[in-house]
């Protein structure tokens, strides 16, 4: 057992660092730092740079465009990108539908979709949740009926993140209403420009437009856009749920978040001392670092288990629960640091609007971030659902 990086790993780390320093777009630097809403182009510019370098999908098998890195190298890469505060790549193509397609898709589907995911040509969204269903995915009602070589899809999806930008969406739809809940579901890839699709924004508490409702009215989807067998889409969904949970610990991002809090609390004064010298503020930062370190080693232990052949199992629910709580606590602490200047609501730089936000640069996003991050314990399988998974799958209750 050894926690240190090998000389090869250290060399790799330097390579990554240098690449980021030389290639990360100047106009993106600091943008995420202030928590501003990011445009589609913002996301894609870094995506394309990584794609050009061949580093956009480290987790994919080499044959489909992965990097062939060791788990340690992947760990280093995610640490370094977070450390440099690189924009997070959108997961819908790279981490979600991509792995489903290379695992369950036909050769034609792989050839058609995977390269465009890697290049960023297609922006993907996820059509899972339905109004009134929430964490109860299997109760979905959007239905797809066969009509010749097409399905005709009718229904409504919600919480569809970034659907306003999407070229394609992967949807869970009911193809057989007569079997019980988790059966009779299929996994469809739908071109978002198909007639009958309407995307309506949902505005969240901080004023963000991140999520949407998607209405499907007699949307025609070619049969060849179904992944895996008809009525067996739940297999893909389950595979994807497990996949989604492993990344969700968000250790690297939270490390960066804590660093930001420390920088803020070093600059911000509390009387004649930096806020970080206030023993109680300091204690909360320390407790965050402590809990994040515990989470980090829990993730490392899980990865070691995976390396030893245990797949990402129900234990990954531990990572989701702890990771989401830590993400929320970081925003809580930032809001506390903002003091009075957490209150002003700054609508962002509209067209021709060059007005500077009120208060310290970082303060105007603290309350919206705090509100918005309540989502982390709700989405991706709410933390209550995760506790149920642990109870059932790990503890056998």
């Amino acid at each position: 057992m050894d926690i240190d990086f090998s000389p090869e790993d250290l060399a790799f780390r330097d390579e990554v660092r240098t690449f980021i320093a030389e290639n990360y777009p100047a106009e993106l630097r600091g943008k995420q730092d202030e928590g501003d809403e990011l445009s589609k182009e913002d996301f894609l510019s870094w995506h394309r740079i990584l794609h050009k370098k061949g580093w956009v999908a480290p987790a994919w098998p080499v044959e489909y465009g992965g990097t062939g890195w060791t788990p340690t190298q992947r760990f280093i890469f995610s640490e370094e990108t977070a450390r440099a505060d690189c924009i997070r790549l959108m997961p819908f193509g790279l981490s979600m539908v991509g792995p489903v397609i290379y695992t369950f898709g036909t050769p034609e589907q792989k050839a058609k979709f995977l390269p465009r995911i890697l290049s960023g040509e297609d922006w993907w969204c996820q059509g899972y949740s339905e109004p009134g269903a929430g964490s109860d995915l299997a109760s979905l009602r959007t239905k797809a009926e066969r009509n010749g070589d097409h399905y005709v899809v009718n229904g409504q999806k919600t919480w569809t993140t970034m659907a306003q930008h999407a070229d394609w969406g992967f949807f869970l739809v009911r193809t057989n209403p007569d079997v019980k809940q988790q059966e009779g579901i299929s996994f469809l890839l739908i071109d978002m420009k198909t007639p009958g699709i309407e995307v309506r924004p949902i505005i969240t508490l901080g004023g963000e437009h991140e999520v949407n409702e998607v209405f499907l009215d007699n949307v025609r989807v070619p049969i060849e856009n179904r992944v895996y067998e008809e009525d067996k889409g739940w297999t893909c969904a389950k595979f994807l749920l497990a996949h989604e949970r492993t990344g969700i610990a968000g250790v690297a991002g939270s490390k960066r978040g804590i660093e930001k809090i420390k920088a803020i609390a070093t600059a911000e004064m509390d009387g004649d001392k930096p806020l970080l010298s206030n023993p109680f503020f300091r204690r909360k930062v320390a407790e965050l670092e402590m809990d994040l370190t515990a989470l980090e080693y829990t993730e490392l232990r899980t990865l070691a288990g995976e390396a030893a052949g245990k797949g990402p199992g129900p234990e990954s629910s531990v990572l989701k629960i702890k990771g989401s709580e830590i993400q929320q606590r970081i925003t809580d602490l930032a809001l506390e640091a903002a003091g009075h200047y957490g209150a002003p609501y700054f609508r962002g730089f509209g067209e021709g609007d060059n007005e500077h936000p009120i208060g310290p640069d970082w303060a105007h996003r603290t309350a919206p971030s705090y509100f918005n991050m309540r989502k982390t314990t709700i989405y991706g399988g709410s933390n209550e659902v995760q506790r149920g998974i642990i109870a059932k799958m790990v503890l056998g209750l």
Partner: protein, 376 residues
């Protein structure tokens, strides 16, 4: 010892509650906030003149009903239940309170205007560098003949865009964090040399950065009392937001209970899940603590300064903590819909969150309590 409300107090509560039920439903509130002024000034006028409620906490010689902190508590609790954005806190509790305590000609002239709804006050006390230290003030009031000249920058002045008057803390002498030399002035909001940058707040109010540049004010604008007066008024304001918090916490519990009874998942109303039942019980327990502390601190507002401060800080710290618990769990229990603008619950959560820090964070108040309760 008697913790029951008298008949007049019950009537006040009912009058306001009935009025707010008619005027402050979710849709009307949304419209108000979206309007150019960010509020409906007719509502304030109606509260003052039609309902005649603004007179409740003032002495009879000023045209009031002879009430005080308890009456403010009742009103603020009802405002909290509908997350009203009316300037009762700033105008009646803070402005009115300062005038009551300072007395004199200014009080006699202004209190009737508050009662009639014509005078709306905003409290310009915070400064960008000052956090929660009321004496950390860089704004200066330099004596100039019989009057003063104001210079400085006040931050996040709630209700300033609506105000006819500003209640301003400024320094007539002493160094940045000295208690001596801090004074309180009530001035017209449109005095030459005052500029504002207005903006909405995340909890639905309007506020401003207020800049004073050589603003000449008369000597009569001074409310005598210095930092002690300011501390007393801020303690009263703190208890008023605790009362607001009590209304908010109860409403969040009720809304969560109602939502879980209707919302179905896994084939049954989610209210049937034991985990959610126990969580809502805990939310109810914490909401009770908020109400208890709102009452406790309010009852101690007229005690000697040290006892008052200790009680208020204890109350505010507990209210902050319990309110956070209720709010976070209300959102979690609602799920995704809870973090959208679509249901009222999210808006209660936003106001509740801002109350946590208003007039001092949990840590600030715990520390103030400790300093008084356990002198080194």
């Amino acid at each position: 010892m008697d913790l029951s409300y008298n008949e007049t107090q019950g009537m006040l509560r009912e009058t306001l509650a009935r009025f707010l039920a008619d005027t402050y439903d979710f849709e009307s509130r949304k419209k108000m906030l979206a309007s150019p002024e960010g509020r409906d000034p007719g509502i304030w006028k109606a509260i003052a003149t039609e309902l005649g409620l603004t007179c409740a906490p003032f002495a009879e010689e000023h045209g009031g009903m002879g009430g005080g902190a308890l009456e403010n508590m009742i009103m603020m609790e009802e405002f909290g239940k509908v997350i009203a954005i009316e300037p009762w806190l700033q105008t009646v509790v803070i402005g009115g309170g300062a005038l009551k305590h300072a007395g004199g000609a200014l009080a006699e002239a202004t209190i009737p205007a508050i009662i009639s709804g014509d005078c709306v006050i905003a409290f310009a006390y915070a400064e960008p560098q000052g956090r929660y230290n009321l004496a950390d003030i860089g704004t200066t009031a330099k004596a100039d003949g019989a009057g003063y000249v104001l210079n400085g920058h006040k931050g996040v002045v709630y209700a300033a865009p609506w105000a006819t008057h500003l209640l301003v803390t400024a320094r007539t002498g002493g160094g940045r964090r000295d208690r001596a030399g801090v004074e309180l002035f009530l001035i017209e909001a449109n005095r030459p040399g005052i500029t504002r940058r207005d903006y909405p707040t995340v909890d639905g109010f309007m506020a401003s950065e207020v800049y004073f540049e050589n603003v000449a004010i008369p000597g009569e604008a001074l409310l005598t009392g210095g930092i002690e007066l300011i501390e007393r008024v801020v303690d009263e304001a703190t208890m008023a937001v605790c009362a607001e918090a009590s209304g908010i916490a109860r409403t969040m519990v009720n809304q969560t209970v109602e939502y879980t009874k209707q919302r179905k998942q896994f084939g049954q109303p989610i209210a049937k899940f034991q985990v959610l039942q126990h969580r809502m019980s805990d939310m109810f327990v914490e909401a009770e603590q908020v109400s208890s502390m709102a009452l406790m601190g309010t009852l101690k507002l007229d005690e000697a300064a040290e006892a008052r401060k200790a009680a208020v800080s204890m109350a505010k710290a507990k209210v902050g903590r319990s309110l956070k618990f209720v709010g976070q769990n209300a959102i979690q229990t609602h799920g995704g819909i809870g973090i959208t603008m679509e249901l009222a619950i999210g808006h209660y959560f936003k106001r509740g969150t801002m109350i946590e820090g208003q007039f001092g964070s949990i840590d600030h108040h715990l520390e103030r309590f400790e300093t008084l309760a356990y002198p080194a």
